[in-house]
């Protein structure tokens, strides 16, 4: 089979047997990945307590929430935290919310959640959240919800990166 001479971006190819390889090599060289690995310390610092005088305010019940990490989660370990509900005016006064506190771990970029956490009331206004585990590394939402049955009455979101 005779193959005619042809030109490719100014390069004359007497035989085009190497033509597919040439194109493939050009694409290969032009598309190499450039990984930028993130520092693990930077990721851990994103997992912070919610503090301040009121923490975050649930306006539907006029109640404040603070959080304290007992054990910060990582890619390979479970986390545990305390939820503390307080009066927005007298912050030394602990209150139970009228609706049920609930937490959803959600990965918005991928549109899926993680395994359910366990929420236990340990005292007035104090709850222990355990079995916090993120199924894959990446940016996650911790969604603090107040629920009436299956209805989410109010939700506040904390963004972290695992």
């Amino acid at each position: 089979m005779k193959i005619r001479e042809q030109e490719f971006w100014g390069v004359k190819l007497r035989e085009n047997k190497r033509f597919p390889l040439l194109i493939f090599m050009l694409i290969l060289l032009a598309s190499c990945a450039k990984p930028q690995y993130v520092n693990a310390d930077k990721l851990e610092s994103s997992i912070a307590n919610i503090s301040g005088e009121c923490g975050i305010l649930f306006s539907t019940e006029d109640i404040c929430l603070r959080t304290e990490w007992v054990q910060k989660p990582s890619e390979s370990t479970f986390g545990e935290m305390n939820l503390i509900f307080i009066d927005p005016i007298d912050q030394t006064r602990f209150l139970d919310p009228t609706n049920e506190p609930f937490i959803v771990l959600w990965m918005p970029s991928m549109a899926h959640g993680s395994s359910p956490v366990k929420v236990e009331r340990i005292d007035v206004g104090r709850y222990r959240v355990s079995e916090i585990f993120f199924t894959m590394p990446g940016p996650w939402d911790i969604r603090y919800q107040l629920k009436d049955g299956s209805n989410v009455v109010e939700e506040k979101i904390q963004k972290i990166t695992i």
């Binding site: 089979m1 193959i3 085009n16 047997k17 190497r18 033509f19 597919p20 390889l21 194109i23 493939f24 694409i27 290969l28 598309s31 190499c32 990945a33 450039k34 990984p35 930028q36 690995y37 993130v38 990721l43 890619e75 390979s76 370990t77 479970f78 959803v104 771990l105 959600w106 918005p108 970029s109 991928m110 549109a111 899926h112 959640g113 993680s114 395994s115 359910p116 585990f133 199924t135 894959m136 590394p137 990446g138 940016p139 939402d141 969604r143 299956s150 989410v152 990166t161």
Partner: protein, 306 residues
């Protein structure tokens, strides 16, 4: 007229290139859209069995940051694929994967079951009856993806270890172009697809997951010596953001990655071939919002002549 030796090489390159077109999708959320099993040779039917071992190596966040995966997360896939010609230039095909997933670490677990089954209908719109030196052979196809694999939205415990499919009904279409010049061959594939919304109800979320469009483009080349072919391929994938409405409303982020594959093929008989391939998703492209894996695949194919 082509000599018998040249014809054998041509047949070999055409029948083996399609092995390179497999989708080594990011395994976080089940397999991605599958490139169909298409007959690109002059055969009337083909059946293929494959085994793939894939391990997640890194995760890439939506902002482009990479993180090396610390815990071992392995997916083994056994797949059977078949295609058959009808009415001379039409063909239909089916692909059915069975997956075993193993994860180590704090949530150590394993799971296995059927993945997403896909059906294809193809039409050879550019035949290569005269072995034209320039014009490629072209086949267009339509695909239907059945959500037979459990998705991460239906995961029993929310951990996603049992997610073996995308979880959506999907339709797609694309084209495959192939060409051989002497010992060299080249191939190109483009496909686009649409996945339909799905209602979900789990312990943590009730609502509707809205995926959207996606697509992939692949370009590859190979060199043939008698019964051996060495080939390489790059396949770029794109998925539009997936949004969720309901109790956990959220806007997703686009997903993209590229898979580089090296292949070594051997023609056992004129109608049987075996292929060993290595695929790496960490080498090419500008990945976003995905898990990147490295895979080894063993593929055996048998064909029946017209």
């Amino acid at each position: 007229m082509l000599s018998k030796k040249k014809f054998k090489k041509l047949l070999f390159s055409l029948t083996l290139f399609i092995v390179t077109e497999k989708n080594f999708a990011a395994p976080c959320c089940g397999s991605g859209f599958t490139i169909p099993s298409i007959i690109t040779s002059d055969d009337k039917a083909q059946v293929a069995l494959s085994y793939s071992y894939s391990q997640i190596y890194a995760d890439v966040f939506a902002n482009g940051d990479w993180r090396r995966r610390e815990e071992k997360d392995v997916t083994e896939t056994y797949k059977i694929e078949g295609a058959h010609i009808f009415k001379d230039r039409y063909q239909f095909g089916i692909s059915a994967p069975y997956q075993k997933r193993t994860r180590e670490g704090a949530q150590e677990d394993r799971s296995s079951g059927l993945g997403d089954v896909s059906l294809q209908l193809g039409y050879e719109y550019l035949p290569d009856w005269d072995y034209n030196p320039y014009r490629p052979k072209g086949i267009t196809y339509l695909s239907l993806i059945l959500p037979t694999g459990k998705s991460i939205y239906e995961s029993d415990d929310g951990s996603g270890i049992d997610a073996r499919g995308r979880g959506f009904w999907g339709i797609g279409g694309g084209t495959v172009l192939t060409k051989s010049w002497g010992n060299w061959d080249a191939n190109f594939n483009f496909e686009a697809h649409y996945s339909f919304p799905k209602k979900v109800s789990t312990d943590t979320t009730q609502g509707t997951v809205n995926p959207s469009y996606g697509g992939s483009t692949a370009i590859g080349s190979g060199y043939n010596w008698e019964s051996i072919r060495l080939g390489a391929l790059i396949n770029w994938f794109y998925e539009a953001p997936t949004d969720v409405t309901g109790t956990t409303p959220s806007e997703g982020t686009l997903k993209r990655y590229a898979t580089g594959t090296l292949l070594a093929s051997y023609l056992l008989k004129s109608n049987e071939s075996i292929v060993l391939s290595y695929s790496d998703q960490t080498l090419f492209g500008s990945p976003l919002n995905t898990s990147l894996s490295k895979s080894i695949t063993l593929f055996i194919q048998k064909r029946w002549q017209r």
